[in-house]
């Protein structure tokens, strides 16, 4: 099967393809006015013909940018009578606790477009007040007259019984064909009305714009001879059909960043790493994810635009912790003399000072050039010479002189502060989840990731670091690994051991039949699909739950010991205590369906023997490590020419086209048979100072 993955980022459009067992790669500038233009260029650069492709995978930031830039179409909201303001009242909290000028999340639907209808269910899903269908019909006509493009429908307790939402959806679509309708139970069957409403609104709000975008993409590809399948990356790390993405675009919020973590998962599987921390550092941010047994962790939602004023999105998303520290992050001083790095970034325009494109603020990349860690003559494979002197001047002027530090000290300080911030992100996805970093390995990628990864490992006591093949193109590559995936959840409250078997079976049947419907719609063979059941458990009286995998529905109904044991163990691992013997409560049922990718794949590329290029002469240059006054003479190696089994001990720098790996003294890197670098980190004993 010939597949191609295209990631449209803020700066670059990345393409990685797998054609007749060969990998093709290209990179071109993103064309924001018409993103498909950039895609066309990338295809051309890769020398690919659309006719020969069976599958086109795509990740995009269009959904999340539509929210962040508030570029969605006019959207309405329909709620249970008495509750249209829940969406604006939200949870009433003020995360910026001492700020008397705090701001609240700004609703995407203004109050005059929020409507109520007489209908009511109780928490068991029983009808207390029947829905006023005539009123819904009248609303449909009104929306049509006013030219409103989309509507979100969220009724109280619809997770328990969706019949009123179904009726409202049917009537709205009848009276106003073409209206983009999102019913809350169709995308999220969990209680908590505010978060469910927000998720539903997000879908409706981005819906028309994303659907148009996807349609343009589809017709562009079709016009140019493509007749394969188009799959879209979703935030949960899987992919979905273009048709599905067009009705559930909220699932593609993190469509861009997840792919690299999927790739890291594959590398972890190939190398047999049980606990890995995926670490991705690009131009503006760094991201970390915990990968267990080759599977990136998934969390139930997050806040788009940040916790304080963002919009909650409660669908599963790969648990990525992001910090505003990337190669372009700017170093600065506050009024009291404190030194900081980021989150403001020089991005690609003007870029770091050393790019020589007008940047004046010293960045992390500048610091790395000053310290000798980046080679000014081999950046982007030598395609972009860097201005070392400019970087030094800016670092001295903005940071060094005002703080009384030498330029090298200042540069080292900038790198250390960045490392410290990134270490906290890595800590957040590891130790905070009960994972001891000393038992884990880091898998680092992104252009800047391998530059900083060794220092991070030292800081957090991670003994093993992996730099996979093609770390600078790793995100696009990961896309070709994403299985088709469908997650669903259904609230079901009860006590473990006293569950009504009929209800549980009915609950799972419902989830399964919805999944089968989706498989059929996407023309996938259910025989190839993997169905994983799960349940959210907690001790009675607790609120937050822990998802626990289930061997079968019967195991849950019978409260098999494997279920209780797993729950106690997970609870102890996460929170440091367990309460064996206490009553365990069930909160919801889960189903995850995946369809693995068939045929040859990038996973094979990652696992196949590595054939090195012809050797290149080794170089040497001074590199600053821990002491800015005593740079060490480091070996400089060209990675593509290093054969499997090759070993090097730091101080050393291993360079390749789109990335650079920095080894500290005592660290030993070895090239695996597949061409990945595995580095044994020399961990300091005792005082780190």
């Amino acid at each position: 099967m010939n597949s191609i993955g295209v990631d449209i980022g803020g700066t670059f459009t990345d393409l990685v393809g797998y054609r007749d067992g060969e990998l093709v790669i290209s990179k071109t500038l993103t064309t924001p006015h018409n993103p498909t233009e950039g895609v066309a260029t990338a295809l051309k650069l890769a020398g690919t013909q659309l006719e020969e492709l069976d599958e086109f995978l795509h990740g995009s930031t269009i959904a999340i940018n539509t929210v962040l830039e508030r570029k969605g179409d006019q959207t309405a909201l329909l709620t249970t009578a008495g509750f249209r303001d829940v969406y604006e009242i939200a949870r009433g909290n003020r995360p910026d606790a001492f700020d008397i000028s705090f701001q609240r999340p700004e609703p995407l639907v203004p109050r005059h477009l929020r409507f109520e209808v007489s209908e009511r269910l109780n928490a068991k899903g029983e009808v207390l007040t029947a829905i006023d269908e005539e009123a819904v019909r009248a609303l449909g006509r009104q929306l049509k007259d006013a030219g409103i493009a989309a509507i979100a429908v969220c009724f109280l307790h619809s997770y328990a019984n969706p019949m009123h939402e179904v009726a409202a959806g049917r009537i709205l679509r009848e009276t106003y064909p073409g209206l983009f309708v999102t019913l809350s139970h169709e995308i999220l069957r969990e209680f908590r009305e505010y978060e469910r409403t927000s998720t539903t609104v997000l879908n409706a709000y981005v819906g028309p714009r994303v659907a148009r975008y996807l349609k343009t993409l589809e017709s562009h590809l079709g016009d140019n001879g493509f007749d394969g399948a188009i799959h879209i990356m979703r935030s949960n790390g899987g992919s979905m059909s273009l048709t599905h993405a067009s009705v559930e675009p909220v699932s593609m919020m993190e469509s861009g960043p997840v792919a690299g973590m999927i790739g890291a998962g594959a590398v972890a599987r190939i190398l047999g790493i049980q606990q890995a921390i995926g670490f991705d550092m690009g131009g503006t941010t760094a991201k970390a994810t915990l990968i267990t047994d080759g599977v990136p962790g998934i969390e139930e939602g997050y806040y788009i635009g940040g916790y304080s004023t963002g919009q909650p999105m409660q669908l599963p998303v790969v648990a990525i912790v992001e910090v505003g520290t990337g190669g372009g992050s700017i170093a600065w001083r506050d009024g009291a003399g404190g030194m900081h790095v980021g989150p403001h970034s020089a991005s690609s325009d003007p870029g770091p000072v050393c790019y020589g494109r007008g940047g004046t603020e010293p960045t992390i990349t500048d610091a790395n050039v000053i310290l000798g860690r980046l080679n000014p003559n081999r950046f982007l494979g030598g395609g972009m010479p860097l201005d070392l002197e400019g970087a030094r001047r800016a670092m001295a002027g903005k940071i060094g002189e005002p703080t009384g530090l030498t330029t090298d000290e200042a540069a080292l300080g900038v790198v250390r502060i960045a490392d410290s911030a990134m270490a906290l992100a890595v800590r957040a996805v590891s130790v905070r989840k009960g994972v001891d970093p000393r038992d884990a390995a880091m898998i680092a990628f992104g252009g800047a990731g391998p530059v900083h990864a060794v220092a991070l490992c030292k800081e957090i006591y991670i003994p093993t670091l992996v730099i996979p093949k093609l770390p600078g193109n790793f995100s696009a590559l990961g896309m070709l690994l994403a299985p088709w995936r469908h997650d669903s959840v259904r609230t079901l409250v009860g006590v473990l051991g006293k569950l009504d078997g009929v209800r549980v079976r009915a609950g799972f049947d419902e989830l399964l039949s919805a999944a089968h419907k989706q498989l059929a719609a996407d023309e996938l063979d259910p025989q190839r699909a993997l169905f994983e059941l799960g349940v959210d458990l907690r001790y009675r009286g607790q609120e937050h739950t822990i998802p626990v995998p289930l061997p079968s529905a019967e195991a849950l109904i019978n409260a098999d010991q494997v279920v209780t044991d797993t729950f106690h163990a997970l609870h102890d691992m996460r929170y440091g205590h367990a309460a064996v013997g206490e009553t365990i409560e069930v909160a919801s049922l889960r189903l995850t369906v995946t369809v693995p990718r068939g045929g040859e794949s990038v996973e094979q590329f990652l696992a196949q023997p590595f054939v090195p290029e012809d050797p290149r002469p080794e170089q040497r240059r001074p590199v600053v490590y821990d002491n800015s006054e005593q740079p060490l003479e480091a070996r400089i190696l060209w990675r593509p020419s290093l054969p499997p089994g090759f070993e090097v001990e730091g101080p050393a720098v291993i360079e390749e086209s789109n990335s650079t790996t920095v080894l500290f003294p005592g660290d030993v890197a070895r090239v695996t048979e597949h061409g990945h670098l595995v580095i044994s980190i020399h961990l300091a004993q005792g005082e780190a100072q």
Binding site: F83, N93, H112, A146, A336, R416, A428, H544, Y575, E582
Partner: protein
């Protein structure tokens, strides 16, 4: 140097490597956050997991705060250290062993309601205690006369439940079974609270572990230097802000409704703020004497309020540490509602504090033109229903904390339906969650139209929320600031005040302000309207386009627009007609003239199976 006592270092002024400092201080805050996350996620009661009524941190061996979790409750600023200090004084630093877990809620020391239970553990390094990992969390019940929020009947601390003063619940890892039994037998929801206790203890252990990791990388000396230096920086930053406030004495006075037992005597909140150079002194000398009801806090309550106000003024975005408050002096004589003598009831300890903070800011408003917003809702905004479920026989208590309007500001309208200045990242309880767990049906949760004080920048709106009890239940109601609603500033008007109404299934109804243990039967309804924020600036200066938007969105009704803003709805002459008759005109209000549909076009006004409560002018 064998303990983490950073302030002891301040005289030395060691120059700390700025990079090491950033690493150490970031790490400490991350540890406190990690403790908070574990506590929140594994807690057993809504006040912790949903409402987030807790704080976590590391405390030095002198009882000072090394770090505290971010985003917690502002009012927990003077908290943990006082509790831990009591244990240090009792046992001595040599009297702790690894595996000790100490529990503490003593009213005389902590000065808060007894539900706020502190749990802490000693952190050892090379065989010595170097610090303590501590947290405070709101237990759902501690026995005594009070269940849930808002009970005003107690008048001495002994009515209010079990007190535990610096008791070692675990000694060197071994549980003190006698104490455990005594707790189990004296509180209403032992399963819940002992679960919380487990979560609290585990959170402390996380703090211990992290600190020990930090000390394996940096010496105690280095960590102390980093903390001392971060405190110095915070102090310098705060003092620089204070220096910008003109020297002088500033006074303001506000009024609380009553102590809850004697309903016709208002309570005076009077503060004087003196600014002199870089020192700011808050003086509570003229505060109302302590009362014979639970509306008292100990010293730490008044201190917390002063600290919250000071932090809002000086460096609202920076992390909290002791250095932030070195520029603040407090005069708080014993015997007032914010420093009650030992023995006073403390059940409603926090109720006065939002008004105390508002009043401190009010005093400084003339010195800081444009900085201080109009008053916010000024109460803690909570309700609780409790009883025994008729279907299962289980005892229950429902607790919900919700917001109200905040005051208009110099440059924008006040926020709507937000929790008080004391509460920060406290969240309301979802309707669906309440209905799943408790025998109530919630009939509406909506913005309270016209409740924001009129002004050039309007006050934020309060909310309206109606509960229908599905069986026998009991409720406490404790409204505040109804006599002196949230005030406006610079010519802005006051916001609408708090209000509640009980409507019985038999059709009778009555307004309630403060009352404890009100029985409810099936079908009885309770409606709460929370206060709106005060307005900022003269309402006539409000931009016409903004009034139009308010009308379109229904934040302001046509009557309100006419009455408060002299606004004529186009083509009707409505404003001029209404101004004459105080909004009581019997007029048909046309929909706003706009291309978009009117807000309530699908169903008119309120829903519900019962006739909606009619709002009257308070």
């Amino acid at each position: 140097m064998n303990a983490i006592t950073p302030a002891g270092m301040s005289a030395m002024k060691t120059r700390v490597n700025p990079v090491t400092q950033e690493v150490v201080t970031n790490s400490l805050i991350a540890y406190a956050d990690e403790m908070a996350l574990a506590l929140c996620k594994s807690a057993y009661n809504m006040m912790i997991y949903e409402v987030r009524d807790f704080c976590c941190g590391l405390i030095d061996t002198d009882g000072r705060m090394i770090c505290q979790n971010t985003g917690g409750l502002p009012i927990f600023l003077a908290d943990l250290g006082i509790a831990v200090k009591d244990g240090i004084d009792r046992y001595g630093l040599d009297g702790f062993a690894p595996g000790d877990v100490i529990i503490m809620n003593h009213g005389g020391v902590c000065g808060q309601h007894l539900n706020n239970v502190v749990v802490y553990t000693p952190c050892f390094h090379q065989g010595k205690v170097v610090a303590f990992a501590a947290n405070r969390a709101h237990w759902v019940d501690v026995g005594g006369l009070r269940t849930g929020f808002g009970n005003s009947q107690t008048y001495e601390i002994y009515h209010e439940g079990l007190q535990m003063r610096s008791i070692k619940l675990f000694e060197a890892g071994k549980r003190n079974e006698g104490v455990w039994q005594m707790i189990t037998d004296n509180i209403r929801f032992p399963e819940s609270s002992l679960g919380d206790l487990r979560a609290q203890t585990a959170a402390c252990h996380i703090g211990e572990r992290r600190l020990s990791e930090l000390l394996s990388r940096f010496s105690v000396q280095t960590v102390n230097d980093c903390i001392a230096s971060s405190w110095d920086q915070a102090e310098a930053e705060a003092r620089a802000i204070v220096a910008g406030i003109p020297d002088g004495r500033y006074t303001a006075e506000s009024w609380l409704d009553s102590d809850g037992r004697q309903l016709d005597v208002p309570i005076r909140v009077k503060v004087t703020v003196e600014v002199k150079g870089t020192d700011l002194t808050i003086d509570y000398s003229e505060m109302n004497p302590q009362v014979n009801s639970p509306l008292n806090s100990g010293f730490s309550g008044g201190l917390s309020a002063a600290r919250v106000a000071f932090k809002c003024l000086t460096m609202p975005k920076a992390p909290v540490n002791e250095g932030c408050f070195r520029g603040l002096k407090l005069i708080s004589p014993e015997g007032t509602i914010v420093n009650a003598r030992w023995g006073a009831a403390l059940g409603q300890w926090s109720v006065a504090l939002p008004t105390v903070i508002d009043t401190i800011l009010r005093a400084l408003a003339p010195a800081l033109p444009g900085f201080v917003p109009a008053a916010h809702k000024g109460d803690m905004g909570g309700c609780s229903f409790y009883g025994v479920r008729e279907d299962t026989g289980a005892r229950y208590v429902l607790m919900n904390i919700y917001g109200g309007g905040w005051g208009g500001r110099k440059d924008r309208d006040g926020a709507s339906c937000s929790v008080s200045i004391c509460q920060g990242d406290v969240r309301n309880t979802p309707v669906e969650l309440q209905e799943i767990h408790y025998p109530v049906l919630i009939e509406c949760v909506k913005l309270r139209e016209d409740s924001g004080g009129a002004g050039e920048h309007r006050g934020g709106l309060g909310l309206e929320m109606r509960y229908r009890s599905l069986g026998k239940s009991t409720i406490n109601i404790n409204l505040e600031r109804t006599f002196e609603p949230p005030w406006g500033v610079e010519g802005g008007q006051a916001g609408r005040s708090n209000r509640s109404l009980i409507q019985r299934a038999d059709g009778s109804e009555r307004e309630v302000k403060k009352e404890s243990n009100i029985p409810l039967g099936a079908g009885d309804c309770v409606t709460f309207w929370t206060a709106g924020g005060g307005g900022y600036g003269d309402p006539t200066k409000r931009e016409r386009a903004q009034v139009e938007r308010d009308l379109l969105d229904g934040y302001v009704t046509a009557e309100g627009a006419a009455r408060d803003y002299g606004f004529d709805v186009p083509g009707t002459g409505l404003g001029s007609r209404l101004r004459g008759n105080d909004g009581q005109g019997d007029l048909v209000i046309p929909a706003p003239t706009s291309v978009t549909p009117a807000p309530t076009s699908v169903i008119p006004a309120q829903a519900g199976t019962q006739a909606p409560a009619k709002e009257r002018q308070a």
